[in-house]
């Protein structure tokens, strides 16, 4: 089938098998391997991508479901050679250990900050409840999200 959608801000038309898993389409057909496969059943959050700016599992999405919508993968966060604020705060806070959960974790955080630029600590916890970090570096991850939110607000106030 023919689908039309936006991939990391660019309009795209593609001939696809609508029932193919979005995760396989991204990694194998488009070579966008930033999106990771962990459990394959919506438990771990490693494959999190943004559909119309909302976090969803690429492993539980069929390509046909992209029709007319906007998809953001981790590759889409870097703008003009500069990492997204969240990517920078993740690096600064040591929130990346093995790195496997990082793309999904960062995109869940991105969705949160787009919806709610000033989240409470509890809201940060809830937003990443579906993202498992097996290195268990949650404290640094929460600190990185906190810093991204706070620094964006401080800059806006200046």
């Amino acid at each position: 089938m023919r689908i039309e959608y936006w991939l990391n801000g660019e309009h795209r038309v593609d001939e696809v098998d609508g029932s193919r898993r979005l995760l396989d389409y991204l990694r194998e057909d488009l070579g966008l391997t930033g999106t990771k496969e962990g459990c394959g059943e919506g438990e771990c959050g490693a494959c999190t991508v943004l559909l119309d700016n909302k976090a969803v599992h690429a492993c539980l999405t069929m390509v046909g479901q992209l029709q007319g919508r906007s998809l953001t993968t981790i590759e889409g966060l870097e703008k003009n050679g500069e990492l997204d604020r969240l990517q920078q705060t993740f690096i600064r806070n040591g929130a990346i250990q093995c790195g496997f959960c990082s793309p999904g974790m960062i995109l869940s955080a991105k969705a949160l900050l787009m919806e709610n630029p000033n989240p409470s600590d509890e809201e940060i916890r809830m937003a990443i409840a579906g993202n498992i970090c097996r290195c268990s570096g949650y404290r640094e991850i929460r600190a990185a999200i906190r810093e991204a939110a706070d620094s964006a607000r401080e800059e806006a106030e200046e």
Binding site: M1, E15, V16, D17, G18, S19, R20, R21, G40, E41, G42, E43, G45, T48, L51, K54, A55, V56, H57, C59, L60, T61, M62, G64, Q65, Q67, G68, S108, A111, M126, A127, A129, G130, N131
Partner: protein, 296 residues
């Protein structure tokens, strides 16, 4: 492009939907959010020849106040329902249930229609569907619509009573402004958890006292368990410790009876240890529910 494994149809209006439905066989499935279907496909649990996605049908989406009720499109996501101001105001139990389904990722994609159609004993929408007197709006491929109340919808005790030429378009709930409701569940962890017991209750409050209490337990049987005795226990009171304990004991007995009265092997497998756990844990659920009900 690789050879597709299945035919994938994505109707955008009624005409295309009816044409797609005409091609469906007993091995064809509807795709709502996909959060359960893709797991089943992965586990190779089901044989599929054709997938009909309902994602582009506008009349299946959205939440709106209609007369003295609320229509929730079957494709409305848990996240949309939990955030909707009318649902939060008039159908608080449903908003609570939706707010705690799975993770953020699941709530952004899973739908009320998918939850009701899958009919998992642990499906959190189902006790609310009974409690809040929901009606399923069922569209047939001949263009006619019929409505089914929860008891009729689940009359078989498992999968919804629907024909192959029918599809769930929406769920309607009456608005009763003087009524409030609440839902809680107990799982193995606080977030991203599957209910081992859920409970929901709806009541009016007169002079601070409960009136016309309705009560259901979920996840303990194939379909939600009505608890009509709750009306007498809680009615005309505030839910004192003594009444909470009495209700807990009653629920504990009802859970014991479910197992005892079964003549055939149960379709919902509950191990002996789980049953013992649920009999005791239900007391905490009753306390959580009544505490939650009192919070604005």
């Amino acid at each position: 492009m690789r050879e597709p494994r299945w035919e994938y149809l994505q109707p955008a209006d009624r005409e295309e939907l009816f044409a797609a439905m005409a091609q469906m066989t007993e091995d064809s499935v509807f795709l709502a959010g996909g959060t359960d279907l893709l797991c089943e496909i992965r586990e190779a649990k089901i044989k599929i020849d054709r997938i009909v996605s309902l994602g582009l049908l506008k009349e299946f989406s959205g939440i709106r106040l209609e007369g003295d009720g609320i229509r929730i499109g079957s494709m409305a996501t848990h996240g949309e329902i939990a955030a909707d101001p009318s649902v939060r105001r008039y159908l608080r139990a449903l908003a609570e249930a939706c707010a705690h389904v799975g993770s953020k990722q699941i709530r952004n994609k899973g739908t009320i229609g998918g939850n009701l159609m899958n009919a998992s004993p642990a499906g959190d929408m189902i006790p609310c569907f009974f409690l809040l007197h929901g009606k399923a709006e069922i569209l047939s491929s001949d263009g006619t619509t019929r409505f089914a109340e929860a008891g009729e919808f689940y009359r078989g005790g498992g999968a919804p009573a629907m024909e192959r030429n029918e599809v769930l378009a929406a769920v309607h709930f009456p608005v009763v402004p003087e009524r409030d409701s609440f839902f809680v569940k107990l799982g193995s962890r606080t977030e991203v958890t599957i209910a081992q017991i859920s409970a929901c209750m709806s009541a009016k409050k007169k002079d601070g006292m409960f009136e016309d209490v309705e009560f259901y337990l979920g996840s303990v049987d194939r379909t939600p368990l009505p608890v009509p005795e709750a009306a007498a226990i809680l009615g005309g009171s505030l839910g004192t410790v003594e009444e909470r304990n009495r209700l807990s004991e009653l629920l504990s007995k009802r859970i014991q009876e479910i197992q005892a009265k079964r003549k055939r092997p149960p379709r919902l497998k509950i191990r002996e240890s789980e049953r013992h756990y649920k009999e005791r844990a239900v007391k905490g659920v009753v306390y959580d529910l009544l505490d939650g009900f009192d919070r604005p």
